[in-house]
Symmetry: C2
């Protein structure tokens, strides 16, 4: 279950809002978490689901597996730095990687809208193949459905993934400890702002490219490098802020980060200012946070920075026992504030 | 890849039809197979996918796994005998079962249309839970996306499944041999005609209930009973006719069946006559064919009939070398004809 944690019982959804699904229920904020925690998880409750990870961790015979799924409904289908196909591969690869698994096999299921140009489908399939090759996974099974014109939106893709877990770490919010360092693998906000720029027809001086990329190699390098990884989370819907709040709430600890340590590119910062977005909440598709003991932090940072996808990695904060579930941000001018989860979404249909 | 086999190179799709996706591309007939074989499979080509099974069979560490996925877009969402939720569970359980696997874990990913009543979602989730419990599987991971009103159709569900394979059989079209008996697990056409009756607002004397059901126990009983199972296929889109044609073409053998041996309920037969459908092509969600050596056929039939879901099981035909890929039907009056695959679909959005 991607982003399943973080339901706050003190913030009930008004009955009137909750009789029907809202766009905001898909946005990565508080409403989405309430939908998952109040409606979906209770229906399926079981011990594996209750762990609330990006992927389920399963023992099948002698093998320890990670298993995950995501649907992709992004609009537009093509954007600078990627498309719905590369996103559908990398997103699921990354959910597997966040358990420390080696991603192996993907399924791909398509809901096509009548009238979709076959050439569009072919471009997307070719992109999926390239992304799968780059991530070292095979697409081994799939399905195709067609819905009437006006009952879909070109193409929706659902991928599921299976990976093998060979490490002995317990990578989960429950393993986060006071004193842990919080590492961020790179600069924020490029996926969300790339989508937004295309969607709004905005012409920035330079095109912002999505950060969409497979993260499994970075994670494998951390683990093989002997880093005692406590928790990993990729920063998709809801961005860095939502991911940290989910982990802080699940771990019942406080996460303190420093704004000056969080890398945000000039173009993304400019676009966010023009459009009124906060980069902390903007979706990424090639960035993650890593919680590890302070003693490992320097070495973990060097490992991340040695990888092309981690050159801008940074130690952005640390974990304390000061509260049970808060995230704080120390601004560039030294003021400290609590980072809240948004109630709905900044950007619908971002992934 | 559900129903990936069966592309016939002698029947190219006209270019003009093929520039855009048609509803018929989702219908289980020749057009769907051409889409899969000409466009999708070539994009992803790899040894696992090339086996063309209902599920991929994977070796992960010491474990042999089955892995499959399907998207469900059925309309209406609720129908006699089931709903999109029970269908999404049983369909994926059955694709796993068709490799002889024990279904273990499912993922569930939802594409919700803005405005969907939450009560509708809750009914569907409860149905999924009941179906999962009945099939002995756990829903362990998932995802939720929301699309704008008018860009979806209430709810689409994609399930993926992982099962464990513990037998040593090679259950696949390539294992079918001349002399094999063809067994059918029950009566045909109830799922398709149940959907059709609701969709068209038809009032038949008695309500036809979908046959939607989990088939893994039936398959497990065949295998544990020592039946040398050569091939299994559940009879979803395209019905019995399409499944047999796919297997005959993949095995390069001929399948001869007798109409009198194929059980079709009176109500389904009547509804098919009124609406102009042929039960051989109507979708089922709780029926499968089994290819096994003639010597095992009687025992296999007894095993199937001892199960509540197999009481109407029948030996419907046999395999010969008379041609490479034909299916023939001997009618009740003794005439024999070739069974063709439909080019498009009888029933769109049946699953």
């Amino acid at each position: 279950m991607t982003q399943p944690a973080g339901f706050n019982a003190s913030c009930p959804i008004p009955k009137s809002d909750y009789a029907r699904i809202l766009l905001a229920h898909g946005g990565g904020g508080r409403l989405m978490h309430q939908l998952i925690e109040q409606i979906i998880v209770p229906a399926f409750r079981n011990p594996v689901l209750d762990v609330r990870h990006d992927s389920a961790v399963l023992d099948v015979g002698a093998a320890r597996l990670a298993f995950t799924t995501d649907s992709y409904v992004v609009q537009p289908l093509f954007f600078p730095g990627g498309d719905i196909g590369s996103l559908a591969v990398n997103g699921t690869v990354n959910d597997l990687a966040m358990t420390g698994a080696t991603p192996l096999y993907l399924s791909a299921s398509f809901v096509l809208e009548e009238g979709l140009p076959v050439e569009t489908l072919q471009r997307i399939l070719a992109s999926m193949r390239r992304a799968a090759d780059a991530a070292g996974v095979q697409i081994v099974t799939g399905d195709t459905k067609v819905v009437d014109r006006g009952k879909g939106d070109g193409i929706f893709i659902t991928t599921a993934g299976v990976g093998r877990i060979e490490h002995a770490l317990a990578i989960a919010p429950g393993s986060v400890r006071p004193g842990d360092a919080v590492l961020l693998s790179g600069d924020l906000g490029r996926h969300g702002m790339a989508i937004m720029a295309v969607r709004e027809g905005l012409d920035f001086e330079t095109t912002i490219e999505s950060d969409c990329a497979p993260l499994a190699k970075l994670v494998a390098d951390l683990i093989s490098g002997g880093i005692e990884v406590h928790c990993l989370r990729d920063l998709t819907r809801g961005g860095l802020a939502s991911a940290l709040i989910e982990i802080a709430e699940a771990a019942r600890l406080q996460v303190d980060i420093r704004e000056a340590a969080v890398p945000v590119g000039e173009e993304v910062r400019g676009a966010c200012e023009i459009l009124g977005f906060d980069p902390l909440y903007v979706a990424n598709e090639g960035r993650f946070v890593c919680f590890a003991p302070e003693a490992d932090a320097g070495r973990a940072l060097r490992i991340l920075r040695s990888h092309p996808l981690g050159t801008a990695a940074s130690i952005i904060g640390s974990v304390t026992q000061k509260s049970r579930g808060l995230v704080t941000l120390e601004s560039r001018i030294g003021a400290t504030r609590v980072v809240d989860m948004l109630s709905g979404e900044q950007l619908p249909r971002i992934c």
